[in-house]
């Protein structure tokens, strides 16, 4: 997508949306992306493809009812027009070679993004959008004589009906579950997880951003200075697999920063008391290696990582260890396992700052690139701040920051609710 | 100061040598066929190999095109189909690689036959191991110019015109060092017109070997690598090269040969000298220098003179030439001298441990003597080599 922007001034183009209080992917500024958590055991593939997960029995779907469809529709249409406007103004020539790329690159994705939000049954809505597309085509010379369908053929574009299949699925969810949720994070999926070689694992999907966290527990002697403490070793990996922006090889800056951030969160929030990890004072303690790997990088990696870490720790099962008195050797009983004690539930919420004033929650990769700054706020159950992470960027007034914090706290509630729901859903098994 | 036991009361060294005596030196030129020049030298138990590539274009790109060069004879394959080769195959089949005429296709592998390894190519002479029958007539189809000339650097007498001209005219005397095995019809290795591009080499990107920017406008770039086989030393080495010491020695080698080679003849080109210590028993660097000298000559690259290197030390006041590793280990002053014998110029002098300046004279003198002695030996090797090559190319 990033390349597609090159033809229109990206920021310029973006501001047009912000003026309309909407974002290219159809969300409003204060709107989170679909969030998915995945703990327990079943195909990881399910989480990544929606349709198969319908089969999943313990599937909780919560759809926001506030955002009603008609409003959404107009939004979409508006957006598409905005874009076409951009194109019209930014191009002197109406040469097909120029317009077509731009339309296909800029306009169509926008239109289609929200296709899933209305079933094809709404004839009228389709008309709205078809019209938009027609407009796009009228802008192209040499096609005036053709009818709309013919032009589609000519240009190898698809009629919109064909694309709205995926819309069905989402609707199905809507009907499945009428549950209502405070915020605008539209879709929560709850499917059990996957990695059996890890002692605990979770997969979190925040829109497209997908992060998996696996926790492996090992035994080691505590550090000399803190004899009664165990270790928690977080490690965030951004492999080249998750986005072209990362090279393979040793962790880059962003990965290192993320690891450090997670480490700070763990440290500050006391998510787990390290004392709990100590088995024999000064002799033996647990080491929790928390490896967080990003599978699909579409922005807001910090929120996802923190979330994944929490969820993974939630379902860690440690074997019981006893110190044999006479031999002094420790014995591990792998049969008998018990969960970790999670003291706090820190939740991270990230905002992107536009032009020093506009705040956008849960930024996508695109948005992060364009934003003038970002800020991440971590709060715990009592709504206390665990960490405020603002790596430079444009300044932020105290009031704005306060605003962020309040939003973060509300966000925390929902996420907490989600986690509990997840845990409950997998308890029976 | 030097430990006393370096010299017995009778004035003999630990290995029975006299103070000024060298260890047994044995050398051979043209060990490898594919390199432009190569040589092997034994000084006592110290064994070293040297290989020379070039002069060639500095950027690696041209190099990869060359790929591994066997002696170039571009049209050979098309002109010489396998069968005719049989005719030219030597009668003494077993020791030649199987060729149709040789009746030896039957056993899939004439290994057993080849057991007492190939005889040295040299005609009788003090430097040759006696074993093995003499070499077969060389069916070397001499499409390529003779790379080696009878011209021996540093010799007072004027070189035969042809040879000398040879060396100067064709860049780097690209001629292969003729190997005693009958050369199979070579498939051209320099890309002929319309050749397919090189197979994507999984090896290093050529860039890593010097880019064009390193090319010197007025002379050739001498590029050296010094490496010691992991098994060459008593204690196993972890890496053959790439450590600081190896880098330092490579640099010294480079400087030494920049002094000796007539680099002005090859502007904007590169000459690679790779030395490899196979077995280390003192004076490794010296052995490498001597081997490299031979290799450079084998490659037909003009030099001012031989470069002969030898080490020397002192036991009390008696200078010791050509130290062995125990003698080196014994501590005491030790200097390494690289000499251009004819002119008597010093290419490199390195003195470790401190030493009073008038005692330097003695040591230096000893080293100088050693170098001159070595020069005599190397000279003999070269001349025999040339005679033999001349013979091969003659008929």
């Amino acid at each position: 997508m990033a390349t597609a922007f090159k033809t229109v001034e990206p920021l310029e183009y973006y501001r047009r949306f912000l003026k309309e209080n909407c974002r290219p992917d159809g969300r409003e500024l204060g709107e989170f992306r679909a969030t998915t958590v995945n703990i327990g055991k079943c195909l990881l593939g399910i989480i990544m493809g929606l349709e198969s997960s319908l089969a999943e029995p313990d599937l909780g779907v919560l759809v926001d009812t506030k955002l009603n469809m008609s409003q959404q529709r107009t939004l979409v249409a508006k957006k598409a027009n905005v874009i076409l406007g951009c194109i019209r103004q930014s191009i002197a020539s109406r040469l097909r070679e120029v317009i077509l790329p731009l339309c296909s690159a800029l306009a169509r994705p926008r239109l289609e993004y929200c296709v899933q939000l209305w079933g094809p049954q709404y004839e009228r809505d389709m008309d709205i959008l078809e019209r938009v597309q027609q407009r796009a085509m009228n802008m192209m010379q040499g096609l005036e004589h053709l009818s709309y369908e013919e032009r589609l053929q000519e240009l190898g574009l698809l009629g919109l009906e064909k694309r709205s299949l995926r819309g069905h699925l989402i609707n199905v969810y809507k009907y499945l579950e009428g549950g209502c949720e405070e915020d605008r994070a539209r879709l929560y999926l709850v499917v059990p997880s996957s990695i059996t070689t890890a002692d605990g694992s979770a997969l979190v999907k925040l829109g497209n951003t997908t992060v998996i966290c696996g926790v492996k527990a090992e035994l080691a002697a505590p550090a000399a200075d803190s004899a009664n403490k165990g270790y928690i070793v977080p490690n965030v990996e951004l492999p080249s697999l998750c986005s072209t922006r990362f090279r393979s090889g040793p962790p880059g800056e962003e990965a290192q920063a993320a690891s450090q951030f997670i480490a700070d969160v763990i440290e500050n929030s006391q998510i787990i008391a390290k004392e709990d990890l100590c088995i024999a004072n000064g002799k033996l303690a647990w080491v929790l290696y928390c490896d967080i790997i990003c599978l699909d990088y579409d922005g807001n990696i910090l929120d996802a990582s923190a979330f994944a870490l929490l969820a993974a720790l939630k379902n860690v099962q440690l074997p019981s260890v006893t110190i044999n008195e006479e031999t002094g050797l420790s014995e591990v009983n792998l049969k008998q396992k018990n969960p970790l004690i999670i003291r706090k539930h820190p939740v991270a919420t990230s905002f992107a700052i536009f032009d020093d004033t506009l705040l956008i929650v849960d930024p996508t990769a695109e948005e992060e690139d364009l934003a003038t700054g970002t800020v991440t706020i971590v709060t715990d159950d009592e709504g206390r701040l665990c960490s405020v992470h603002k790596p430079g960027g444009s300044p932020l007034t105290g009031a704005k920051l306060q605003d962020c914090i309040t939003r973060a706290i509300t966000r925390h509630k929902e996420v907490k609710k989600l986690i509990d729901k997840v845990i409950k859903s997998i308890k029976p098994k | 100061m030097a430990a006393p036991e370096l010299l017995s009361d009778e004035g003999y060294r630990a290995d029975g040598r006299r103070p000024a005596e060298l260890r047994k030196v044995r050398a051979r030129m043209g060990v490898f066929a594919q390199a432009d020049g190569s040589a092997y030298i034994e000084q006592g138990n110290t064994k070293a190999l040297a290989v020379v590539y070039g002069p060639h274009e500095v950027s690696g790109a041209g190099h990869r095109a060359r790929g591994l060069r066997s002696p170039p004879s571009p049209s050979a394959p098309l002109r010489a189909p396998p069968l005719p080769l049989g005719a030219s195959a030597p009668p003494r089949g077993l020791r030649s690689p199987p060729s149709p005429s040789a009746p030896l296709r039957a056993p899939p592998l004439p290994l057993g036959a080849s057991a007492p390894p190939r005889a040295p190519p040299l005609p009788p002479g003090p430097l040759r191991s006696p074993s093995g029958p003499p070499l077969p007539p060389e069916p070397l189809r001499s499409l390529h110019p003779p790379g080696l000339s009878p011209f021996v650097p540093g010799t007072p007498r004027p070189p035969p015109a042809t040879g000398a001209a040879e060396v100067r005219s064709l860049p780097g005397g690209r001629g292969p060092s003729p190997v005693p095995v009958p050369a199979p019809p070579r498939v051209c290795t320099s890309p002929p017109p319309g050749s397919v591009p090189a197979p994507v080499c999984t090896g290093p990107r050529p860039q890593m070997r010097g880019s064009r920017s390193k090319a010197l406008p007025d002379r050739a770039l001498v590029n050296c690598q010094y490496s010691m086989a992991t098994f060459s030393t008593g204690e196993r080495r972890r890496r053959p090269h790439g450590d600081r010491q190896a880098g330092e020695l490579a640099l010294q080698l480079k400087q030494t040969f920049e002094a000796a080679i007539l680099t002005r003849l090859y502007p904007r080109s590169q000459i690679d000298i790779y030395v490899q210590v196979l077995q280390a028993d003192g004076g490794n660097y010296c052995a490498c220098v001597n081997a490299a000298t031979l290799a450079v000559m084998d490659a037909g690259i003009p030099m001012r003179d031989y470069v002969c290197a030898s080490s020397a030390g002192l036991a009390e006041d008696t200078p010791l030439a050509d130290l062995s590793s125990p003698e080196e280990a014994a501590g005491g002053p030790r200097l390494v001298l690289a000499l251009l014998p004819a002119s008597g110029q010093i290419a490199l002098l390195q003195l470790s441990a401190r030493l009073h300046q008038e005692r330097l004279e003695a040591a230096l003198e000893a080293a100088g003597e050693a170098c001159r002695a070595l020069h005599a030996v190397l000279d003999r090797v070269v001349r025999e080599r040339l005679r033999e090559v001349a013979a091969l190319l003659g008929d």
Binding site: L43, L44, G45, M48, G49, S52, A105, P109, E112, Y113, L158, R163, L165, R166, S194, I195, T196, T197, A198, S201, N208, T210, I212, G214, V215, K216, E218, L219, A220, Y231, V233, N235, E237, P239, L241, C242, T244, S248, P250, P251, Q260, V287, Y289, D291, I293, L295, D296, P319, N324, E331, V332, N333, L334 | A61, V196, P197, A198, V200, R205, Q207
Partner: protein
């Protein structure tokens, strides 16, 4: 390890609890280590899905019943990074393969990311992957360009390389790279013992105990073998040949599954066309 400063430091060394359990006597018994000799020709259920990552141009996920989970992403032709490489690739594109193992992928001790041993293992697997895929890709169609595939092993339940090969082929096809054929990977192993028969798609435990292992990759439509990689206890050629046949047969049986997943992906893409145009 060298990369320590790039990652959050942990203790110098630590042991997995299994070690101590063994010391405690109670030898751990992995559940899939079923004493009952399973049908050697039985394939484990395979779940494959193509086109699931938003950022990658093509992607695929393959999971085996054994618990092996591999995620693959592929990127279509890019400009070859360095000019020298471009020259080398003038005849056709270059295929760059990467293979990574998640630190928690293995049973027992955690694989320390960035450690020399780990890098070595990954590099070797990557090379094997490349050799298995190269014959399937029409590199000649992409002059001066490079194609990239990177596989991430999330969990190793045996037959990891085979799964990676299949997944990588799917990812490439999903990315719209022109290929002669898909590549289907399949692993076998021979348990110790004189008369033991080769079995298809060994689980992790079986693989660990195996006397000999073999991984084959097949281009099913062309019936060409693109990878043979195996070793272990010596046995006469015909035994290996028979193992090879078994493996190839396994590939043929896996093919439909992969094919279906790819078709589904293609339909899906057309249905919701070009969300990433």
């Amino acid at each position: 390890m060298p990369l320590d400063h790039r990652r959050v430091r942990g203790p110098e060394e630590s042991q997995p609890p299994e070690v101590w359990a063994a010391a405690g006597g109670a030898g751990e018994v992995p559940e899939e280590e079923d004493a009952a000799p399973r049908d050697p020709c039985a394939l484990r259920p395979l779940f494959a899905r193509a086109g699931l990552l938003s950022q990658a141009e093509g992607s695929a996920y393959v999971e085996l019943g054994g618990g092996t989970k591999v995620l693959c992403a592929a990127w279509g032709p890019r400009e070859a990074a360095e000019p020298g490489a471009a020259a080398a690739a003038a005849g056709g594109g270059r295929l760059l393969c990467e293979f990574r193992r998640a630190p928690f992928a293995g049973r027992g001790a955690r694989l320390r990311p960035g450690s020399a041993a780990e890098r070595e293992a990954e590099r070797e697997a990557a090379a094997a992957l490349r050799e298995a895929l190269e014959p399937a890709v029409r590199l000649a169609r992409y002059p001066r360009a490079r194609l990239a595939v990177s596989a991430l092993l999330l969990q190793d339940g045996g037959s990891a390389l085979a799964a990676a090969i299949s997944a990588a082929a799917l990812a490439l096809a999903d990315a719209g790279v022109e290929m002669y054929d898909l590549a289907v990977g399949c692993a076998l192993c021979r348990p110790p013992g004189p008369a033991a028969a080769w079995m298809l798609q060994p689980g992790e435990a079986e693989e660990r105990r195996a006397a000999a292992r073999l991984t084959v990759a097949l281009l099913p439509a062309l019936n060409q073998v693109s990878a043979v990689l195996g070793g272990g206890q010596g046995s006469p050629p015909d035994a290996w040949a028979q193992a090879l046949r078994l493996g190839l047969d396994g590939c043929h049986r896996l093919y439909p599954v992969l094919r279906q997943s790819l078709l589904r992906a293609a339909r899906r893409r057309d249905a919701a066309a070009a969300t990433t145009a």
